[in-house]
Symmetry: C2
Subunit: 613 residues, 2 copies
């Protein structure tokens, strides 16, 4: 077990290793941009799918929609550029909203973030698999399994404590950037040499009329192009000094690249009137149109897959971090804040992987089905963060505070409007799930918090004195259930006698007459301890035994409950567990259930018997 | 928990209720025939699917194949009619093969039976759902979920101790018989009034040439019509006296009905040249052709569904019985032989339900995909049983033993040939799974047996004396891990001091400096027990604690291992378990793992702390 774990996730790391090296801008861009840059893979696809149902007339709206989205992108980027110097130690939505809008709004932001991280992982993985399955259509039916395989891969890598932010991760990012910029350049040259083509020759027959509603729909789905732009806001401390300045520059370069890739690809798609088949993405169709179906095309698809896998990987940093912040504040199960022996929040990672896998399976590995859930959380978090920044400037003031507040205000307004559009146009298609999930998560946060507070109240020693609380106990009565007379029982009996002189053995008799043989052998091996036989007409072991214990407690009259001693086999191999100890397990379960119901806090003593072979 | 269980599966039953009432022939037919009679639902379908790929020319072989299968049916039925008087207390394949061919062959038969019961349940349920989905095509995409729903239903009914062999179960059986015989009669009249039609007008275009191989394939698949014929062989004691005679008569009536239904339906299908669409079974198409698409047709489909559900239900009697026989003989985990408090082998039922559910999911609820796995086990069990009977007659002799041996010999030969045909023609399509599974099951049987024998050897007190084996122990050293100072710890400490005067508290310090506060509070609340602080640079609780325990054991030098006392929270609600005790669980897991590895048999004492709310 341990050996296998070590092989898969490597040896433990000491706490000192936490302090990590600083990143230069080249490496930082690679570390923080995958999610943002890779968004074009699904955003373009969504715009295409949204417009194609209105045929050629619909697809003609691709570029205008692209321009609107780039407008929002510029607003959000400038808005976030102000967050970085203001929160140099990490300015995620949870932090900024908590600090400026209060605990409640902070938790609201946290719930959005948790949902977003899961969706980022699911959407990126399925979109990455769609990219590679476009190149190899034979893979198309296996998209769920392939997405899960990549999920397992990055989960293991992260449990190993993957931290190669600047080196291993940089290769796919620059490979992607290089191949797409090259593709766009080739496309531009071809476009200048040729002349624009018309969707009327290529587009599918429209199945729905072109309405404002339909265009709004496509716009809302296309806004997923903006996801990931906030990643840097948490990462300022990772930059070389001057941290904030370098971070802002990196953010602006990233936004510029995002805009270029997005607008370039959507422009070329419209210029060449590219249309995708059912088992191909629109980006794949574009690349095929520009470069031809050859090794270069396959390279671009591989690059798309790789950057999307790296993008999914960013969730493995973000989700456990937010979950651990919540856990430290008592709003999430405590174990989410434990730093594992590989210096990562392993529990959070496993939780993220489980939820992501569930989403992939439930939505059949289909990016398009997941997208309606995606944008709501993203834009709500954006809005809360930007609104928090407005409050921040009003509170902190400082030079040019009026201008800064206005910029963030415009950002908040833009993301609020986008949120509204997304919410209305995608509500029925799946956004309702998130609208339902957010209050449920908030309820969970508060319930957990309340429970921990209640437990603390029950455990406090305030007001008690050692004289009353720590008064010595009498040595406990011990009850030893025996199934027969063998070495394991003899050992257990020796232990019981070493800790108490009030030991009773109990035999539960299922078939009348079975007890006689046990009684006989007990004469010889019972070490003088009395044996009580309890009949069981309903063939249950636990019931009669627990009744006997209750009787014993009542008769003793000293208010103490008898302890139960359970001999337990410890097999030499894991599968042998299936062949032993069922009665012991069932008894423990019953005892747990009982004591929960009647408040009988009874000690359970496990005496292991070690099996060889 | 208990309350919900009781609601779902009813109150416990005392052991006396085991003696069950005897069945008259009407009720007995209903009890033992569902599996056999319902076989036509999938056998006909398989023959149709197997021949349709060769178009009209292929489908013309339906009736000849049907005749061959009825020939085998007659042989097997007569052969089994001899088993009933010879093994009046139950003559399943496992019993007959064990008694006459030795333990090994008996286990081989048992492995076939276990596989068959699972497949009967899976095939019957999916075929039943296919019947109803043929009538309501909107249900077609939900076949997996529907099959699972029916599986859950019959599992719960069986866990409740469903024993209504003759009353509740008889209704679907006679409803099915009545509606099918009616349908066949109407079809016969219509056939006599009309004239035969030709498949050439209706059959799909052939996709494969008509070869002997293709016909053999369809024949092999159609042989699943014979499944279930052996059911009575285990049930002789349930008949009214004279038991064997009544059982034989019921068997022959059943075989007659099987033959009539099978040949009648296949004959009419060929006469009317009926062909089925992709989302409809051939039987459904036949009924529709004969009765028209009306309420009568829906009734027949409902009858088909019901009898198939009842057929699946027979596995819930058979599988747990065989499993419990194996468990009693030590070849399967012992808990499979425990009679639950509803007087049924609950564990076996749950195992069967789990395996059946798995098959349904893995094979996408598609009967046709499951069939290749089905026939191998069935015909191997037939062959072993009939061969066993030949040996039985050679051994026992008695009147007419030569004739009897010959009859069973012919039966064995017929089933062996069929087995060969099935094995060869269906090997690639899925039969290989069973061919692989049978030796694996045998290996499992022997491994389990060997383990239980080994354990018995290790536990025996033979040769030991009470003086040496039961020598008194010194009172144990107790180690109490503390995470902080609170009421739970104070209580645990009181208990520890009541059973030993060598108690040590241990605090594992993850963040350097944390121990100071604990040390301070311990001064006041530690009841004079020493507190040891162990640093943990790798943030693990278990590692340093276990090292400390090892050190303590080594220093003491008396060969006894220290006991560990773990305070454990018992929350008031189930979900609160997620918020507590992770460290205690991990510690127990580590201790289990450790003691397995190093043989350190260390007692673990759980001290519950009962949380209110």
């Amino acid at each position: 077990m341990h050996t296998i774990l070590n092989l898969l996730i490597g040896p433990p790391l000491p706490t000192q290793r936490l302090a990590s090296e600083r990143l230069n801008k080249i490496r930082a861009l690679a570390a923080f941009s995958p999610d943002a840059l890779s968004s074009i893979a699904y955003a373009n696809q969504e715009i295409f799918l949204g417009l194609a149902i209105a045929g050629a007339a619909g697809l003609a709206y691709s570029l205008p929609i692209g321009l609107v989205i780039v407008g929002i992108l510029v607003t959000v980027a400038i808005s976030y550029a102000q967050t970085l110097p203001a929160y140099p130690t990490g300015g995620g939505s949870y932090t900024v909203a908590s600090a400026n809008l209060g605990r409640r709004i902070g938790l609201l932001a946290a719930s959005c973030l948790l949902i977003d991280y899961v969706l980022t992982a699911a959407v990126s993985l399925t979109a990455g698999v769609a990219a590679i399955a476009s190149a190899f259509p034979a893979l198309w039916p296996y998209r769920v399994v392939l997405s899960l395989a990549f999920l397992v891969l990055i989960t293991l890598a992260n449990l190993r404590g993957l931290r190669e932010s600047g080196t291993l991760m940089a290769i796919p990012v620059y490979f992607f950037l290089g191949s797409y910029l090259l593709m766009l350049a080739v496309g531009l040259v071809k476009a200048l040499l040729g002349s624009p083509e018309s969707f009327s020759a290529t587009a599918p027959t429209p199945t729905e009329p072109l309405t404002a509603w339909l265009v709004l729909h496509a716009l809302a789905a296309g806004c997923t192009a903006l996801t990931g732009i906030e990643a840097i806001s948490n990462g300022v401390p990772a930059f070389r000094p001057p941290e904030a300045k370098n971070a802002v520059r990196t953010l602006l370069v990233m936004a510029l690249l995002m805009g270029t890739l997005f607008l370039g690809s959507i422009g070329l798609t419209q210029y060449f009137a590219v249309v995708a088949k059912a088992d191909e993405t629109i980006l794949s169709a574009l690349v095929r149109r520009v470069l031809g179906t050859n090794i270069l095309y396959v390279m671009v698809q591989v690059a798309t897959l790789l950057i999307l896998v790296v993008a999914a990987n960013t969730s493995f940093a973000g989700f456990p971090r937010v979950a651990s912040l919540l856990a430290q504040d008592g709003y999430a199960p405590r174990q989410l804040s434990f730093l594992g022996d590989r210096l990562v929040f392993s529990n959070g990672m496993v939780l993220l992987a489980g939820l992501t896998g569930l989403l992939i399976v439930v939505f059949g590995g289909d990016t398009h089905a997941l997208i309606p859930l995606f944008a709501v959380g993203v834009f709500l978090a954006f809005t809360l963060s930007q609104t928090g920044m407005v409050v921040h400037w009003l509170r902190v003031r400082g030079p040019l505070w009026g201008l800064k507040a206005t910029i963030n205000g415009v950002g908040a307004l833009a993301t609020t409007i986008t949120l509204g559009v997304v919410l209305i146009s995608k509500f029925m298609a799946g956004a309702w799930v998130v609208v339902l999930l957010i209050p449920l998560l908030l309820l969970a946060f508060y319930t957990v918090k309340q429970h921990y507070q209640e437990v603390a109240r029950q455990l406090t020693l305030r007001g008690a004195t050692p004289e009353t609380a720590a008064e010595p106990l009498r040595s406990p009565r011990i009850v030893l259930p025996v199934s027969g007379v063998h070495r394991g029982i003899v050992e257990a009996l020796r232990y019981a006698r070493s800790i108490s002189d009030q030991v009773t053995a109990v035999y539960v008799e299922i078939n009348p007459g079975d007890a006689d043989r046990v009684r006989q052998q007990w004469e010889k091996w019972g070490q003088g301890v009395p044996l009580v036989v309890v009949p069981s007409p309903y063939r249950s072991i636990a019931g009669p035994l627990l009744e006997y214990l209750d009787r014993l407690d009542a008769e003793s009259g000293d208010g103490q409950f008898a302890s139960i001693l359970l001999p337990e086999f410890v097999p030499a191999r894991w599968w042998q567990h299936l062949l032993h100890n069922q009665t012991a397990w069932l008894l423990k379960l019953e005892l747990l259930y009982r004591r929960r119901r009647f408040g009988k806090v009874r000690a359970i003593i496990d005496i292991p018997w070690y099996l060889r072979e």
